[in-house]
């Protein structure tokens, strides 16, 4: 699913660039090699939607997982599903006029917006969901990827016996010294024949 998402993202570059970079065209050719339907159905689109549907199914169907789930666990699933399904719709069912979409997007990028009339409202829905995703992403669990790299159990070596690690906020603590210990127990130690520091 992660790969699908990346490839889908790259495929969308077609809408932002002119001329279309060669790798985008190559990706499209590889992604659509099954040549099903017209326009060709991309494998990544299917994988993306099916994988999300599975994740949602799993969260709803497994009692324990449902029990631990929060709103923040469902929301991104619905959001991504919405984006995926509306995208599929735009390509295969609504047959969006890509030329005008590109005109509009490039217009936005140049701060000279144009509103072609041939774009369906569904497209704006798709665009809105993507904007929500971009805004939500940094605050959501979708930044979980960072955890893989930040987790101390993942990025620190288990070498503490070989190398000393210094604690930057180390502070002295109250300890019970040997002198205090011996002072309390000296007589008992002496009568048991255990060596002491002071008689």
């Amino acid at each position: 699913m992660h790969w699908s998402m990346l490839i889908i993202l790259l495929r969308h570059l077609r809408l932002f660039t002119n001329p279309v970079p060669f790798f985008v065209t190559a990706l499209e050719r590889a992604d659509g090699f099954m040549e099903v339907g017209l326009p060709v159905v991309f494998i990544t689109t299917v994988v993306f939607v099916v994988a999300l549907a599975y994740l949602l199914y799993r969260r709803l169907a497994i009692g324990q997982v449902r029990y631990i789930s929060l709103v923040g666990d469902y929301f991104p699933l619905f959001l991504l599903l919405g984006i995926g399904i509306s995208g599929f719709w735009l390509r295969h069912l609504a047959k969006t006029d890509i030329a005008s979409v590109k005109e509009m997007v490039l217009g936005l990028a140049r701060f000279a917006p144009v509103v072609p009339e041939t774009i369906s409202p569904l497209f704006y829905g798709h665009l809105f969901l993507v904007c929500v995703l971009l805004a939500y992403l940094p605050f959501s669990k979708l930044t979980h990827m960072a955890g893989v790299f930040l987790s101390p159990t993942r990025n620190m070596a288990n070498n503490n016996r070989t190398v000393r690690h210094v604690n930057p906020w180390d502070y002295p603590v109250k300890v019970h010294t040997y002198e205090e210990y011996e002072d309390e127990l000296r007589e008992k130690m002496k009568s048991a024949g255990i060596p002491v520091e002071r008689q």
């Binding site: 324990q64 029990y67 666990d73 101390p152 109250k174 300890v175 010294t177 011996e182």
Partner: protein, 555 residues
């Protein structure tokens, strides 16, 4: 017959404990209050112990009280404590943020497997803290509250923390399966530290800490008492082997300071392991000393707070310096080794007055312990065996069919996986592994670590011990296993109960004990009895047997 109480094993019927429901509960977990049922919680820390350690809010109270007598401004104390720890511990901060509630950890926890309580799923155990973190420390939580998974900090939340953070043995099995490596042990530790700020401790942990602070060991054995204890062991050693040993105590200028958990001074079967150490050191001519001041390698401070850990741990290097030893050797223990491996050098080091450990037997330099200067007895023995320095006759242990329980801290925490197996294979001819997903890094906890190994907590111990007990029963049924070796004092104490309950007939032993029983000592008498003074099958006449059993019973 007397009716058993909740702190006795007999109180619990296996068929009752096995009526398990792992499914979700009817009410949302945030709205489900804790049910304090005898046998599932541990008694609170007594005021006198808190006073020894100058800990906050000393008072005598009961878990079943409605009012736990929290200090004035307790909420502020918790939130400030949380803020401080979030800034100090990257682990805490990251683990609060990154969980995606995928559920991979849920069925990996022995307490969840054995109890079915959803809050024993590591993910929910952490959510107990995370929900407060979200509410008070994150933007989404502040705005959306419950919708973003946050909740208000109330006395009921504190009670819940107390219940569930003392139902986690910090074994870290869940962290092995977490895609992000979230270590629930670290979360439990933080939870316990926060509870500590309010004076909420369990006595089973805080009394040993107080004892260890004052007398050097968890049991509060005073120096003359320790000497007596070791002398009793020496008498038993002589009876079993005919060998007289010396007991060096607080000996200045010895080469090695030896320390081990104090549990092994008093309770069977730990004492046999302790006897084995002394016997082995005597035979090998090792110049070592016990210390009465640093007479415990164990450190229940680990189960209290990082500060308490440091207060107890400081003694070991201080004593090594006072006695002028060259390096330190540590016995079989679990959490003691977690402290040595993960904290000791940082909190009490640098130990630059010591030398890099070098075995006097083989000349091997233990480079991996270059900085801490502390070597594990299994590393030491494995090296000695490898160089042919131990005269072992494993056939003496032929009546034993042994399996090995990896202790959480040494296996998962340190990676000491091969040394104990190597030593056991050299000391015993019949060694059988438990199923793969219950050993090595995936080992199951004994159910009584991290300060939970008390009888008050019997129901949870039996429940938590179910996975380990079932694995033991498996090898018992398939390979006729009759002994379980473990290199941890808490294991040796708690697995006895677990085995008696879930796999009756399997005894618990230390590894060094197996070595000492297999070893041929110079000048030993004909070995008819092992270190437990139990007759070795095939070595005694029928008539002799009954007499010795009597002797053992009188001890």
């Amino acid at each position: 017959m007397k009716k058993p109480k909740p702190d006795e094993m007999e109180y619990y019927q296996q068929e009752d404990l096995l009526k398990l429901d792992w499914g979700p509960r009817k009410t949302s977990w945030m709205d489900t209050a804790v049910d304090f049922r005898p046998g599932t919680y541990i008694y609170p820390g007594k005021a006198k112990n808190l006073r020894v350690l100058d800990l906050p809010n000393p008072r005598d109270w009961a878990v079943t009280d409605d009012d736990w007598q929290l200090p004035e401004g307790w909420k502020q104390i918790v939130l400030e404590g949380m803020a401080e720890r979030l800034s100090k511990y990257r682990s805490f901060k990251v683990f609060m943020d990154i969980c995606v509630r995928c559920g991979a950890c849920a069925d990996k926890c022995h307490f969840f497997i054995g109890s079915g309580d959803p809050k024993n799923m590591p993910v929910l155990r952490a959510e107990l803290l995370r929900s407060i973190y979200r509410k008070d420390f994150t933007a989404l939580g502040k705005v959306f509250g419950k919708l973003a998974g946050g909740r208000e900090l109330t006395p009921d939340v504190i009670k819940e923390w107390f219940y569930y953070f003392f139902q986690c043995t910090e074994c870290r099995r869940c962290s092995v399966f977490c895609p992000y490596g979230i270590d629930t042990a670290e979360i439990t530790m933080m939870g316990r530290e926060l509870l500590g700020l309010l004076g909420l401790y369990v006595n089973w942990v805080i009394e040993p800490v107080a004892n260890c602070y004052r007398f050097g060991n968890h049991l509060g054995i005073q120096p003359h008492g320790l000497k007596d204890t070791l002398e009793f062991m020496a008498e038993d050693i002589e009876e079993a082997t005919g060998i007289q040993i010396d007991i060096p105590i607080n000996k200045k200028g010895a080469e090695i300071l030896f320390f081990t958990p104090s549990g092994d001074f008093v309770a069977a079967p730990g004492i046999y392991t302790c006897m084995a150490y002394m016997l082995l050191f005597h035979e090998l001519g090792i110049d070592y000393t016990w210390s009465t001041y640093a007479s415990d390698g164990g450190n229940f401070g680990l189960f209290t707070s990082h500060e308490a850990l440091k207060r107890l741990n400081s003694k070991i290097y201080a004593e090594a310096k006072r006695l002028g030893v060259k390096w330190i050797l540590g016995g079989e223990c679990g959490h003691m080794w977690r402290v040595i491996n993960q904290y000791m050098d940082t909190v009490s080091g640098p130990a630059d007055f010591l030398e890099v450990p070098r075995s006097p037997l083989t000349g091997t330099v233990f480079e991996h312990a270059r900085s801490t200067k502390v070597v594990h007895i299994m590393e030491f023995l494995a090296d000695a065996i490898r160089h042919g320095k131990l005269n072992l006759d494993p056939s003496r242990n032929d009546h034993i069919r042994v399996t090995f329980h990896d202790s959480c801290n040494t296996a998962r925490g340190m990676g000491i996986l091969e040394e104990p197996r190597y030593v056991i294979r050299n000391a015993c001819n019949h060694f059988y592994e438990m199923p793969e997903n219950t050993i090595r890094e995936q080992t199951f906890c004994c159910g009584g670590g991290a300060g939970l190994g008390t009888d008050e907590n019997m129901e949870m111990r039996l429940r938590g011990g179910l996975p380990r007990g079932s694995a033991v029963r498996h090898v018992q049924e398939h390979h006729g296993v009759n002994q379980l070796a473990a290199m941890c004092a808490i294991d040796r104490a708690t697995l006895v109960t677990v085995c008696d309950y879930w796999a009756p007939g399997v005894q618990v032993t230390g590894i060094s004990e197996l070595v000492a029983n297999a070893m041929i000592f110079k000048g030993e008498k004909r070995r008819t009895h092992d270190l437990r003074l139990e007759p070795i099958p095939g070595m005694t006449e029928v008539g002799e047997e009954s007499e010795t059993v009597e002797v053992a019973a009188n001890e």
